[in-house]
Symmetry: C2
């Protein structure tokens, strides 16, 4: 693994990437990191799934970021699309402990429909470490069902969700791992502080939503005034994959 920027270039081991970066605390809500992987033609989801785009290194970097977060959040669509875990392996649990963090980040799923295949698709997560945010529109029956397998809270907006994560659950650093609709909503509302983007050296094609191909942001065109230019903080290269870290604050 080569850190190319800031220069001078430095070789480092995979497990040291993002190990010592500083994430500031915010008062009203968690400091929000968004981590995504996309192909060179901007595809973050193919055939409905994100899991096939990044390589082993990308997954290791994802775990490094999880090791730094108090909580990891995904949208329900991402969980419906494929089996996944939001946990970190044992060695990173130990590292978390040395940082004063709980062994596993709190797993957070955001849903409106309440339609989440928890048992089938969310692997390893213990019910007492799982928090589901529903909306006032979530059908009552689904809410009852979900509350048997996890803590369930209802919030009226993403801003409220983040505020609850900070106030009730002491989440200082929140890592968001998609999908594209949740990303878009967070970006639109100005709730993301940093973007970690893995550029996978592939060209995937695929024509829009119908084909199951999505970019990292799916939703209406953003107001250019609200999406100021992002600022590159670091650039790593491993094999053919690029790992870009951007700040969303000027």
């Amino acid at each position: 693994m080569l850190r190319l920027f800031p220069e001078p270039a430095v070789r480092l081991t995979l497990k040291d990437v993002y190990r010592d970066v500083f994430f500031p605390e915010r008062r009203e809500r968690p400091y929000v990191l968004l981590n995504m992987v996309s192909s060179l033609d901007g595809k973050a989801v193919v055939e409905g799934k994100a899991g096939l785009i990044g390589g082993l290194t990308d997954r290791a970097i994802m775990r490094n970021l999880r090791a730094r977060a108090d909580a990891v959040m995904i949208g329900a669509g991402t969980l419906r699309a494929e089996k996944l875990t939001l946990d970190v392996p044992e060695d990173l649990s130990l590292e978390r402990a040395s940082r004063g963090l709980k062994p596993q980040p709190l797993a957070v799923v955001a849903t409106t429909s309440g339609n989440i295949p928890l048992t089938q698709h969310l692997l390893n997560t213990s019910p007492d470490n799982l928090l589901i945010f529903t909306s006032p529109a979530t059908p009552c029956s689904r809410l009852t069902e979900l509350s048997r397998r996890a803590s369930v809270e209802t919030s009226a907006s993403l801003l409220e969700t983040l505020s609850l994560l900070k106030q009730r659950h002491a989440v200082g650093i929140l890592l968001v791992e998609g999908g594209p609709s949740l990303n878009h909503a967070l970006i639109t509302e100005g709730l993301v502080d940093e973007l970690f983007l893995t550029l996978s050296p592939k060209l995937l094609g695929g024509k829009g939503e119908g084909s199951g191909s999505l970019t990292i942001l799916e939703g209406l065109a953003l107001d250019p005034d609200k999406t100021a230019q992002l600022n590159p903080i670091s650039i790593h290269l491993s094999g053919r994959e690029l790992f870009l870290r951007y700040s969303l604050h000027g």
Copy 2:
């Protein structure tokens, strides 16, 4: 401008970027460079247009690549979408002369419908330096009209177009500047040798074709076997924009 990769990092002036890179000759067709700019969320076209995504540096790099090419090709859709020029400014014309190239690269437009607003949208290009490739499906009336303003040739496939460019017009290096459909067709047929991708530090959103938002490749999902991993050749950073150069050959 900072070249980050290959390391060690080197500062260089804008006009020296890609100035001395070597592009090999191919026998059957031109060596094909594809140059595109996209946002961090993979958008290469917003509101139907590509021109708003890259900054001044991106346009300078684009001209550097044009200075190296025997011909510059775009698809007709790109020309229908906005006014543009395929020329290089005077200083690069002089540099071309010193390389033994004609003052301007041959301007090539590929079209099936024959519907191209040449007079309104293609700026500066002289009729004797403009070549339009139509297809056997192009309506005869359009062909007549186009042939008043440019040289017109008909080819049955992109492979034939490239072959004609090489054999009849001595095009050794062809620079393709989109749009997404032409890119997709070239990539699908394995006709691209290098990808130059400018990553503009923006998040643009926009939902698929209907909204006028497109990625650099628009078309069916690609066969993963035919789209081997691309290989990063160089990485430049200028301000907040990244300039990536990839080889499509292993």
